[in-house]
């Protein structure tokens, strides 16, 4: 059944906060999360007449399908494409620093950062140093190699293994949580 303005408004009131947290957990950036949430709802407005489901559950599933699509779009393009927002003539919400901090809190990104820091500490010094240079300081592999006094091939291997070890550790953490 197509959705009207009131239905969209209800969906927003019930899911906007959750969607922001949903995006923040994935992008680690509160501002990007807010933009993606806004674009998701703008896209929902654009597609409201094509919704054929019935009931709250179907509407929620439909909304999160749009959200996942927007997230995939962000991953591909590395920025939020505001196509639906532009069509509606809307700008994404501008939030204060306090609000952005609140979103970080809702998404638990602070805990996640702490967890990443812990897992980084648990890595071997060689892998940690390689990750620090390559990922945090954004050095080229050539620079990483010269600063660590190793070959470029070894630098690449250390970064790759470090990331893999980190990913395994983080995945394990999630399972336990």
């Amino acid at each position: 059944m197509p959705l009207n303005a009131d239905d969209i408004s209800d969906l927003y009131a019930c899911h906007a906060r959750r969607l922001v947290a949903f995006f923040a957990r994935r992008t680690y950036d509160a501002e990007v999360a807010v933009e993606l949430m806004a674009e998701t709802f703008a896209a929902a407005v654009a597609d409201r007449r094509s919704f054929r489901g019935d009931g709250d559950e179907a509407a929620t599933a439909w909304l999160y399908a749009i959200a996942r699509h927007r997230y995939g779009d962000w991953l591909r393009h590395a920025h939020v494409r505001r196509k639906a927002l532009s069509r509606l003539g809307l700008e994404p919400p501008q939030l204060s620093d306090a609000e952005l901090e609140r979103i970080d809190e809702l998404a638990g990104t602070a805990e996640l950062r702490a967890q990443v820091a812990d897992e980084l500490d648990a890595l071997s010094p060689e892998h940690r140093a390689a990750l620090q240079l390559r990922v945090v300081e954004e050095c080229s592999y050539e620079d990483v190699a010269s600063r660590l006094g190793i070959s470029e091939q070894t630098a690449r291997a250390r970064v790759s293994r470090g990331l893999r070890a980190l990913a395994v550790a983080m995945a394990g953490g999630e399972r336990c949580a």
């Binding site: 009207n4 927003y12 019930c14 906007a16 990007v32 003539g89 501008q94 080229s140 050539e142």
Partner: protein
């Protein structure tokens, strides 16, 4: 469904919720749907009405046929004998017959409009094959009541010959209709029931077209048909740009210009010069920089491209221009940018996302430009292009 949120700790989300609700209502309003229907009816003469599809007319056929009345809804079915071609005419920028607006009544009493061209007293349209065909009286573009405004895009076989036909039925009580296009305001000639039609070169956004209606009581209402936030029209009517900001990774804000009309909106025959989507280099500022804003200026020539990589760009065959592009470190921190060094000072109002852009003739030397940036706290910072800019990531990140 979860409980409704009052967003007490996130007032910004509450405000956006209200804006979203209003925008949805506007989109649901009959007048809006009518206008939208027109904006989407591109390339060939085709009709859409307020409530449903109407008649699609294939110009490649030798004759435009009237629709089968049995399939036309009553609110789009014109009443025989009610058809008139309004008096206003507009010169075709592509050199074709003048543009006109035809009015008729629907069976439900609504006003229906059809945009077309007049040749030898016949109302019709020139197709992409350059053949003029009469449009039967039963063919209507759109029907509605009250104020009717629209912009119709007419594609063309050669790039640059695209036209936008801005038209409307403002009502007999409307005293004056002005069209703002390319920064120039002109009063348009009104016909029966306040009808008007104006043909413009390019897409509506290329001239940031806006209609201003003055009612008998002096009240002025403005209706944007091409202008919208973030739009940067060219200085000489070339395709407009869209100014946007994006977050690069988690560390930089970047201002960026790209074609205002995305590839999916285009028709192959009439894409802006060069085809595909034109773009320019970005101007980025680090989120933790010690600067409040960043700006860069550069000369762009047709055919210029950036290095292939993460943020590659392609200027296509856009006309030579000097571009000033800037971004604030935080949205809302800068309120005004005054640019000197290119003739008379130019004042820019940054978008809500803190971006600003200025297109200038290529004769302007980017090194001559100076900026006076007024901050929210009332202070003014002075700088020149290059201020606050974070180095190009493609350079800093490569080789991968």
């Amino acid at each position: 469904m979860p409980e409704r949120d009052d967003f007490s700790d996130l007032p910004g989300l509450a405000r956006f919720g209200e804006e979203l609700r209003e925008a949805t209502r506007r989109a649901d309003a009959p007048g809006r749907r009518w206008r939208h229907g027109i904006a989407l009816s591109l390339v060939v003469a085709l009709g859409t009405g307020a409530t449903a599809t109407a008649t699609v007319v294939a110009l490649r056929n030798s004759v435009i046929r009237a629709p089968d009345r049995s399939v036309v809804p009553a609110d789009q079915a014109s009443v025989e004998g009610s058809t008139i071609v309004a008096a206003p005419r507009s010169v075709d920028p592509a050199g074709g017959p003048p543009w006109a607006l035809r009015l008729t009544h629907s069976e439900t009493g609504q006003t229906c409009t059809t945009v077309g061209q007049m040749r030898g007293g016949v109302f019709g349209i020139v197709g992409q094959d350059r053949v003029f065909r009469q449009i039967p009286a039963a063919v209507v573009d759109a029907c509605g009541s009250g104020l009717l405004l629209g912009s119709r895009i007419v594609s063309a076989p050669t790039p640059g010959a695209t036209r936008s036909i801005v038209y409307g039925v403002a009502g007999a009580s409307t005293k004056r209709v002005a069209l703002v296009a390319g920064g120039i305001t002109r009063t348009v000639r009104l016909g029966e029931r306040g009808t008007f039609v104006v043909a413009l070169r390019g897409y509506p956004e290329d001239s940031a077209a806006r209609v201003e209606l003055t009612a008998a009581n002096g009240r002025v209402t403005r209706h944007d048909l091409g202008a919208r936030p973030g739009l940067v029209p060219d200085i000489d009517g070339a395709p407009a740009w869209r100014l946007d900001r994006y977050v690069l990774g988690t560390r930089q804000y970047c201002a960026h210009l790209a074609d205002a009309r995305g590839p999916s909106d285009r028709f192959k025959a009439s894409t802006s010069a060069g085809g595909g989507r034109a773009s320019v280099p970005t101007a980025c500022i680090a989120r933790r920089a010690n600067f409040d804003w960043a700006a860069r200026a550069l000369r762009l020539r047709p055919g210029q491209t950036g290095r292939r990589g993460f943020d590659r760009w392609d200027y296509k065959r856009r006309p030579p221009r000097t571009l000033l592009l800037g971004v604030a470190r935080a949205a809302g921190t800068i309120t005004r940018v005054t640019v000197t060094g290119a003739g008379a000072p130019r004042v820019l109002t940054p978008g809500v996302n803190g971006t600003f852009a200025l297109l200038l003739p290529a004769s302007v030397d980017p090194n001559d430009l100076r900026l006076a940036v007024r901050l929210k706290d009332g202070t003014t910072q002075h700088g020149r292009p290059g201020h606050g800019i974070t180095p190009d990531l493609v350079v800093s990140r490569r080789p991968r």
